[in-house]
Symmetry: C2
Subunit: 244 residues, 2 copies
DNA sequence: CTAAGTAAGTTGCACAGTACAACTAAGTAG
DNA sequence: CTACTTAGTTGTACTGTGCAACTTACTTAG
């Protein structure tokens, strides 16, 4: 039986015995590793009746109406199961739902995207999880379901936001230098940025603070910074001017 | 029975006989009427077992797995049912899902937001639908479910985007002047904008074109424009500089 | 016919923040 | 001590907004 057109709004919408779509949550987890943007994927099981056996997929799964108080709690749970940690940044990305995206039936997934420092993703990675480099907004293996499309949307959202926010700060380790941060911006945007304009922008944003320590190397030492506590992401009033 | 932790990923996730959340779609439909931002609401029925009887709510309802190919098609359908038209702009806003938001059980809604010109919303409005003014991001009546929260998020998203996009163009009638458009920007942002900077921004964006007609009034006539066909929204590289 | 009023549209200068490029500073390695 | 490298600064050009005064084109009152 199909729901009434005006479900949530007709005299008999109290009857709820019509077919419901499957509800899942998937999380696109980004980290910087080896000077490159990486995403965490999970290999699908090979069991009978399993869709996309052995394909790689975004970590996620069904909403558990007994366990999950709300969608975000569900996303946090999935993230924790695969990485052993909670991420410093979690944002809703959007939802994808259609008749055909899952062979098991009409399904809708609520996608989230998370940013974490490399160091966080090393602790307790699930055995079926693995980091994959993202190049040109794509991943090498073809992903299960429509996860390739979701990943592309996540990369695009990340790139757009990096243009005018402080999001890359959540990809940094506890202590970092300004050139470190700039490199992460450049990795995500895949283009070089102006050093002086970058420094002006970041330092006037009141988002990081210097600590009493320098990063020493074979050349001039660099000031180390840390994120100010409890800092929301900062929104700048301009984008970096794209080249072209 | 609860889904496995690793649903979409365990040997027996082929079994799909665990409880599923309710899946709905709701649409926040904006239009400018009487120099003010308005949103379309629908009054809930009074039948037995109906949650929030006679409260006002966002137009929406259950996903119909037989009728709706995907979520967006479902949103378009809801929109059409209430307004009789399709809107020139429809964007996904986010999803809200939790155990408590609907007394009938764990439910998740996929929220969209739509922009349309006033003229479009006059044709075939459903009898239970009505336009309400939005002031200070709020609506007078307390809305059903968590729709107040969703509306607040939609207004916030709209305000943010108006700061650096051409979205208000979708709120305009077929022919409009630049001062008309500026007024709509000012209505949404709730603050005055600079005339000359506004004109420079809009005219250099290649989004509207002048037509061979002027708007005549008790003073200097104004050039009429129309949206260029098939125009995607334009993103500017700066926001208008907020005051203070 | 003229003057006053009003809104459309233009112009010029100040200001903020990025782009570009050259410079200084502080370390290591030979 | 010199060469090299990266951190960090400085100065000038450019772009687009903020602000304010100005011109233009119409209506209405007299």
């Amino acid at each position: 039986m199909a729901p009434k057109d005006q479900a949530q709004g007709t005299e008999n919408s109290g009857q709820l015995d019509f077919p419901r779509p499957l509800a899942t949550v998937d999380v696109v987890i980004f980290a910087i590793r080896n000077e490159g943007l990486h995403v965490l994927l999970v290999q699908r099981p090979a069991g009978a009746g399993e869709p996309f056996p052995l394909s790689w997929a975004l970590p996620g799964g069904f909403v558990d109406v007994a366990k999950d108080r709300d969608l975000e709690a569900c996303a946090v749970r999935k993230l924790k199961e695969k990485t052993g940690v909670t991420s410093p940044y979690l944002e809703q990305l959007g939802s994808w739902g259609s008749a055909g995206r899952d062979p098991r039936g009409w399904s809708a997934t609520h996608a989230y995207f998370a940013l974490m420092p490399e160091e966080a993703g090393r602790t307790a990675l699930a055995p079926d999880a693995q980091w994959f480099p993202v190049s040109a907004g794509r991943i090498k293996p073809k992903l299960a379901f429509d996860h390739g499309e979701i990943l592309t949307a996540a990369v695009e959202r990340l790139r757009n936001k990096v243009e005018y926010t402080s999001l890359p700060a959540y990809l940094m380790p506890a202590e970092f230098t300004l050139p470190d941060l700039q490199r992460v911006y450049e990795i995500v945007l895949d283009r070089p940025l102006e050093k002086s304009a970058f420094r002006t922008r970041i330092l006037s944003a009141d988002m990081i603070e210097p600590i009493a320590k320098m990063r020493r190397g074979p050349n001039r030492p660099a000031q180390l910074y840390r994120l100010k506590k409890g800092k929301e992401p900062v929104y700048f009033v301009r984008t970096f001017n794209p080249p072209e």
